[in-house]
């Protein structure tokens, strides 16, 4: 960067890299960086942060709802009671004071754990990283949903995982397809190192794994002795329906659980946690030590002060207030979609969480649509980000938690107009009035209420065993 405006900077600065440097550094990069993809999407996404853009792209909770006074008072408590300790390193596994809070949150989720079963992490994201670090050799298979959490894709790629995605419908991962996939893999000599799933209010798909399928998934994992990484950032943000038991509460043996304070308090504290079978947890602890020694002590004391504070709002009250706000925003977005999106579009109806997944006719590429959307000052996440194999090109992730209701209405209206334009143009180009695409499940595949008959032919049709070195 330059010096202050109008003044010459230090003359001794070395030039940035030359063409020869590019060749030289290129030769130094590790093999895994070749699959760490940057993309046009990334550059487009950078534009979504402009002030004049209504961004439905973020995965952001609305932190403006947290009272500034409470923040100030909690930090004062930390300063008064734990200043030196908060400024110090802590144990890798996390401070006991914050583990107590985690045990409390997990109990609210219906999971009983002891403090010594918990590893505090730097956000839920670090759990994914540590699981990959602990379990994966290059080329190892990871099974996940299609679509999957876009933030997990670069992590899988960085560890050179061989990612296999199993499709979903409105009840979450199709477990019968999972079984077929596992059989296929087994015949090819591959045993997945783990299955990655977001069972509640999936990011990005917005769907929730049904109770029956939860039992099935746990059974499959147990019978085949496969680890499942249950990523549950949104479980407490339920806007309708009864809570479903977590996979961890159904089985302790093969479930690695990832939790986070990001969506129930603040992503800024960068605190998450994991529980896992003891040998796995021990390895993850070593992995964390190598990564960052420990998570922020300041954050841990802050969270602890928050949970212990007698001042309102309690953490449960705060979560309830978030639920009220987000439910309203979700409803506004669903209404706006119904009003402004053409009949060719479909979308999910999330019972909680932060996202709606919309799917457009397959002739619309949502990465290109994002460029058009940015011209109308509105942004979303193109669906391709949630796949490792180029699928998802006509889907989009829409976030409703991070923006106010007026912006949601306006953003969806503008997007709807652009999509309608493109649908009409397609009709013009093909010389026919646009026909609605065949009725599909909003997550992307043909709607099928019940598991399909498992004839050989049918299996061949539904099995999308697309493997690609991520």
């Amino acid at each position: 960067m330059s010096g202050p405006a109008g003044r010459a900077g230090p003359p001794s600065r070395r030039p940035r890299s030359t063409a020869r440097d590019i060749e030289r550094y290129g030769a130094l990069f590790a093999e895994r960086t070749k699959v760490m993809k940057s993309s046009a999407m990334r550059d487009l996404m950078a534009l979504t942060e402009r002030d004049d853009v209504i961004s439905l792209a973020g995965g952001l909770p609305d932190t403006s709802t947290f009272p500034a006074d409470s923040y100030a008072s909690l930090m004062s408590t930390v300063a008064a009671n734990s200043c030196a300790r908060a400024l110090q390193y802590g144990p890798t596994e996390g401070l006991a004071v914050v583990k107590r809070c985690i045990v409390e949150v997990m109990r609210t989720e219906g999971i009983e754990v002891d403090e010594d079963e918990v590893l505090v992490t730097t956000g839920g994201q670090q759990v994914i990283d540590l699981v990959c670090k602990t379990l994966l050799d290059p080329g190892d298979v990871v099974v996940c949903e299609a679509p999957t959490y876009p933030g997990a894709v670069p992590t899988f790629c960085a560890y050179q995982a061989n990612v296999v995605q199993v499709t979903m419908d409105r009840d979450g991962m199709r477990v019968w397809e999972l079984e077929t996939t596992l059989d296929e893999l087994e015949r090819a000599g591959h045993t997945p190192k783990f299955i990655y799933t977001v069972p509640n209010f999936h990011n990005p798909a917005g769907v929730t794994l049904s109770l029956e399928r939860r039992h099935e998934l746990v059974r499959i994992a147990s019978e085949r002795e496969l680890l499942v990484l249950e990523d549950n950032p949104y479980g407490l943000l339920r806007y309708e329906g009864a809570p479903l038991p977590s996979l961890r509460s159904l089985d302790e043996e093969f479930i690695i659980y990832a939790g986070t304070f990001s969506k129930i308090l603040s992503p800024g504290v960068r605190l998450g946690w994991t529980t896992a079978p003891a040998p796995v947890l021990a390895k993850m602890n070593l992995g964390k030590q190598a990564s960052d020694l420990c998570s922020s002590s300041i954050s841990q004391y802050f969270v602890s002060a928050y949970f212990e504070s007698p001042e309102p709002p309690s953490w449960e009250e705060y979560v309830r207030s978030l639920i009220e706000i987000y439910r309203r925003r979700r409803d506004v977005m669903l209404d706006a979609l119904a009003e402004h999106f053409p009949r060719e579009a479909e979308w999910t109806h999330p019972q909680g969480g932060l996202f709606i997944w919309a799917t457009l006719p397959d002739y619309i590429d949502t990465t290109d649509l994002l460029a058009r959307g940015l011209e109308e000052h509105v942004a979303f996440v193109p669906g391709r980000a949630a796949y490792v194999d180029g699928r998802g090109g006509s889907s989009m992730r829409l976030n409703f938690s991070g923006v106010g209701v007026d912006d949601i209405r306006e953003g969806i209206k503008r997007l709807g107009e652009v999509v309608r334009e493109q649908v009409e143009l397609y009709g013009t180009l093909t010389g026919a009035a646009p026909k609605p695409t065949p009725r599909r499940d909003p997550v992307g595949d043909p709607v099928r209420a019940d598991p399909p008959p498992r004839t050989a032919d049918e299996s061949a049709n539904i099995l999308h065993l697309r493997r690609k070195r991520a």
């Binding site: 330059s2 010459a8 600065r13 993309s39 550059d43 590429d365 460029a371």
Partner: protein, 320 residues
């Protein structure tokens, strides 16, 4: 020492690339002893320029507004000399359709093409002409927006059923698109700089994508994604012909200061075709112009120095 405003960023889809170009330019200008006024171009551009009173503006913007003559027009109105090409050359170059028509009229080889606005399809029934176009161009056909750099929105249609989707994608970036014959072969870039009042072609860079079947937006800017060969391994006759054609395009479009001309060397025929010209080529670590200059023994600082010098030598009236 001059007081130079470096215009970068902006609101185009190539903002990130421009920020990288701008950062490198700033560093180089500082090392050359100039006083720098970095400006991330936005609604306050005129105010900033009025307040800062730079002697020269280094335009390190890419894409819409920065490269299509808009910013150049503003600078000329304000009487601020700037690097690179003038308004009309920028307009001619940024619009691929205008540039290709100019080339075709002048007998410069460019792949056969057809261009349409959205209105032509919506109101004039241009869709009816698609089969004839497809027959003329033969598949695969390249479909691209008229006004976008960096390969954003460029699609390959391999069959007739790919064409509508490809057009819709291209129309996401521009109201005008072109369908172009696909030229299989080697991807060559000829960079040009003004030197002592005359245009000079630098050694040719060949871009060899490592993974994708198309030299796309990602590989263009990411270290390790594309292998660059400079000077490209070409026989002298082909290299000279490519340089001559590029210089002809440079003169035809009225470009000045610096620019880049992209060509394809068709496999089988060894014919050269001009795909497009770029009035403000990238100046990032992986950009082709700095690599070409490097191969000619011109370091990045010297390159930037020459671009500034060339800008100083030209009054707005002398620019295209």
């Amino acid at each position: 020492m001059s007081r130079i405003a470096v215009l970068k960023g902006g609101r185009s889809l190539e903002r990130q690339v421009s920020l990288k170009s701008g950062a490198r330019v700033q560093d180089a200008l500082e090392r050359l002893g100039h006083a720098i006024v970095p400006i991330d171009v936005g609604a306050d551009l005129v105010d900033r320029l009025t307040a800062e009173v730079p002697e020269l503006a280094f335009v390190a913007l890419h894409g819409r507004d920065g490269e299509d003559g808009t910013v150049q027009e503003l600078l000329q109105v304000m009487g601020i000399p700037h690097t690179g090409s003038g308004v009309s050359a920028c307009i001619r170059t940024a619009d691929k359709v205008l540039a290709k028509h100019a080339m075709r009229d002048a007998g410069i080889p460019t792949p056969d093409f057809f261009a349409f606005s959205e209105t032509a399809f919506r109101e004039l029934g241009a869709a009816q002409a698609l089969p004839a176009i497809e027959q003329r161009l033969q598949f695969p056909i390249v479909v691209k927006p008229a006004g976008q750099g960096s390969a954003l929105g460029i699609k390959f249609a391999r069959t007739p059923s790919d064409v509508p989707g490809a057009l819709i994608a291209a129309f996401s970036y521009d109201r005008k698109v072109l369908l172009e014959r696909y030229v299989p072969g080697r991807d060559l870039a000829v960079s040009i700089i003004d030197e002592g009042g005359a245009a000079r072609a630098l050694p040719i860079v060949e871009a060899v994508p490592q993974q994708e079947d198309f030299y796309d937006f990602e590989s263009r800017y990411e270290i390790g994604r594309t292998r660059f060969v400079c000077p490209a391994a070409l026989n002298d006759q082909v290299a000279e012909r490519a340089a001559a054609i590029a210089l002809e395009v440079y003169a035809l479009l009225g470009l000045s200061g610096f620019a880049r001309v992209d060509l394809m060397l068709e496999s089988g025929t060894d014919e050269l075709y001009v795909l497009e010209a770029d009035a403000i080529p990238g100046l990032t670590e992986t950009s082709l112009l700095p690599q070409a200059a490097d191969a000619a023994g011109i370091g990045f600082d010297e390159l930037i120095g020459r671009i500034v010098e060339a800008a100083g030598a030209l009054t707005p009236e002398l620019r295209g």
